[in-house]
């Protein structure tokens, strides 16, 4: 029988740069090395102790082929095993956790970053579309999010005006998160009124930001040597939907449900209610509701109820991806957030939290999903 990943791998350190719309005075390597250096702090581990590096970034966003090659030094990967997973960094974490669970390595560094201010994030999204039938008709992340939001709101009878509560909760949480450069004052009238893809407005869309995040994974033995309160990986799952928009349901995210089911099975969890913290990544407000329903936090069409005042202290305590979407790193930021909140390293953790869930999405209309669950001893 193969090794079980569950509770054999721990997050022993993690850190992120501040996330902001443009780090114009810093290069990629500066952001990456800051996250990596700070992830090692307090663990007693040095970069020499790291066996391997798995990283996520985008050649298209970086404007650079095999862009990991340019950042190997900053990532501390020199003379180490290294691979680029060109998905959100949460998939890199999944890879890293399997490598440690397999017994092939003891300490792995997971790095993800994006610097979309140096690029055109709209082109990044448009170039994801298959080039023959979807790209020529102008499908992009906005139009797909709008189509799916329309279908969701119509099917479940949710008014578009209700989405305002999702934005408000996310931005209020981000306002209290020192690692996100977002304030409620940024939400001026134009932000609420600018139409992007009906029924979605600017305020419904995830805001692309610059930033980097690093997560240090270790085997059970190394985690015990470090001491403190390791945060264990208990479950992992990922699943992808079909690419062609017309083949998808639009109002539900069955791939997210499949990813969550796999993670719950591995973690021995009965469902989403087992988790005190849930950090999700979504491209739009309506998309966030669909993610929460796919994870099982609410019945289909009912996730908006989670946004009533004070109803869900454990839902995206960081603010989630809407105020700060690090494109290739939003999911790994969620993992860092859950680990920091469970490990007593965060100033915005809900009280008494022991179990948490991190979610990532990728692709046009959130085609791909990854879920990792964590627990403190």
């Amino acid at each position: 029988m193969v090794a079980a990943t569950s509770r054999n791998v721990a997050v022993v350190g993690s850190a992120q740069t501040q996330l902001k719309s443009a780090w114009s005075d810093r290069q990629h390597v500066d952001l990456i090395s800051e996250a990596v250096a700070r992830a090692l702090l307090g663990t007693g581990l040095r970069i020499e102790d790291v066996d391997f590096v798995i990283d996520s970034g985008s050649d298209f966003l970086d404007g650079r082929s095999i862009s990991n090659c340019g950042f190997l030094g900053a990532m501390g990967a020199h003379h180490k095993e290294e691979s680029r997973v060109e998905e959100d960094g949460l998939w890199s974490a999944l890879y890293g956790a399997t490598k440690i669970a397999s017994g092939s390595a003891s300490v792995g560094l997971i790095v993800a970053y994006s610097k979309s201010s140096e690029s055109d994030p709209d082109n990044y999204w448009t170039s994801l579309a298959e080039p023959f039938t979807q790209r020529p008709v102008g499908l992009d992340q906005n139009s797909v999010a709008g189509l799916f939001a329309q279908r969701y709101l119509t099917r479940f009878g949710v008014p578009a005006s209700a989405l305002r509560a999702v934005t408000q909760k996310a931005w209020a949480a981000a306002d209290g998160n020192t690692f996100v450069d977002a304030t409620l004052e940024m939400l001026e009238d134009e932000y609420w009124s600018q139409e992007i893809a009906s029924p979605l407005r600017r305020s419904d869309m995830a805001r692309p930001v610059d930033g980097a995040v690093a997560v240090l994974l270790a085997s059970k033995d190394v985690a015990r040597q470090i001491g403190g309160s390791p945060v264990w990986v208990t479950g992992m799952g990922s699943a992808i939907d079909q690419h062609f928009i017309a083949a998808r349901d639009g109002a539900t995210l069955p791939a997210a449900a499949a990813a969550a089911a796999a993670a719950y099975r591995m973690a021995g969890a009965s469902g989403a209610s087992d988790f005190d913290i849930v950090e999700v990544s979504a491209g739009s407000t309506a998309g966030e509701l669909m993610v929460l329903e796919a994870l099982g936090l609410a019945e289909p069409g009912k996730a908006i109820e989670l946004y009533a005042d004070g109803a869900s202290p454990g839902l995206n305590p960081s603010g989630g991806a809407l105020p700060a979407d690090v494109v290739m790193a939003s999911g790994l930021v969620r993992l860092h957030e859950v680990a920091a909140q469970l490990g007593g390293r965060s100033d915005h953790a809900p009280q008494g939290a022991r179990r948490g869930l991190a979610h990532a999405s990728g692709g046009l209309g959130m085609q791909n999903h990854c879920v990792i669950t964590l627990e403190t001893s």
Binding site: V2, A3, T5, V53, S58, D59, F60, G63, R64, S65, I66, N68, C69, G70, L72, G73, H78, H79, K80, E81, E82, S83, R84, V85, E86, E87, W91, L94, Y95, A97, T98, K99, I100, A101, S102, G103, S104, Y124, S127, L128, E130, P131, F132, G237, S238, A239, I240, D241, Q242, H243, F244, A247, A255, A258, A259, A262, G362, G363, Q367, N368
Partner: protein, 385 residues
Amino acid sequence: MTNIAIVGTGQTAHSRRRLDVSQAGLAREAVVEALADAGLTMADIDSVVVASGPAMFGAVNQPEKWLVDALGARFKPVVRVTSGGGTGLAGALAAMNQIKGGVAKRVLVVAYDKLSEGALQASISTLYDPFWGREFAVGIMGFSAAYWRARMDRLGHTEEAAAMVAVKNRHNSMLNPKAHVKKEVTVEEVLASKPLCWPIKVLDVPPISDGACAVILAAEGDAEAITTTPAWIRGMAYYSEADNAAHRSMLQSEPLKIAAAKVYRAAGVTNPRRQFDVAEVQEPYTCFELSYYEGLGLCPEGGAADLIASGATQMTGDIPVNPSGGCMGANPIGATALIRLAEAAMQVTGKAGAYQIPGAELGLVQAGGGWANLRGVAVVGSTKD
């Protein structure tokens, strides 16, 4: 530790331009063949790893998402691992870890590139730092030529020795039904061919191809139930080297040596020249194959020219290298590393047909990418240990 085996392999018909299929169709063609080879269907596959070259090569961002429909992979885990030219091996390594780490039992790895659809050397040029390097970078050929020139003086990697690599690999390609370049050349023709970036000449360079390769991996126990001829992966590693720092000589590849040492230790290889029956290496230019002979320990440092001249790496020699023809027969960059792995697996399971090395039991695989700073090594065998 769980042993992992290759239980099925498949390759497309490679060609300069596959106008009859899209990227998704190309990948599907290799997957259909691999599934048939293993006697499995997509319903038997738990997870898919897509490995392809830099996304700009094919001008589609994160192309694995497009491939899902054609592969029948809906609701399965699908992830893309990309690591330059060696990405196929990096993808296989990710798949091995998925199985050993307990998140999947059977993993399909599919690697491809459709180089007819992008601007290859222009895309490669963007590899260089936008502030320091890109303004004088010309694809991947410039620095490769510079390093070969240095190896000429220090290691005796002459133009004649490299020409012999071209002659050997193009000769071997004649027997490989999947190879699309079928033209024998002589040492004189290689030496007289047009310099592209001296000492690299046209006939030192492999073709640019459209093609895909698929490999199915399974764990011990399951693997023997799937096939009577599993090819056991006895070791695999993929190492990196940061930056083109001035203090590095590049005469020998450091990540290649580190990867080889690790994999040889895992596989119990102490005398590679004697123990390996066959090797498949990824030679983006002829000069690299010479360099790999030394980095992989098939000969001492500075011994590569003598090794090729001795005929030892010919199909009939004691350590045949690239009986498939290597990249000279077909070079769909993102797929070439996985093709090397598949070819070595075919050799140790007696499935290599006209270019089978009789009795081959232990095979060596080398792959790499980036600016020659990403290097992978694997060992496959007909037995588990």
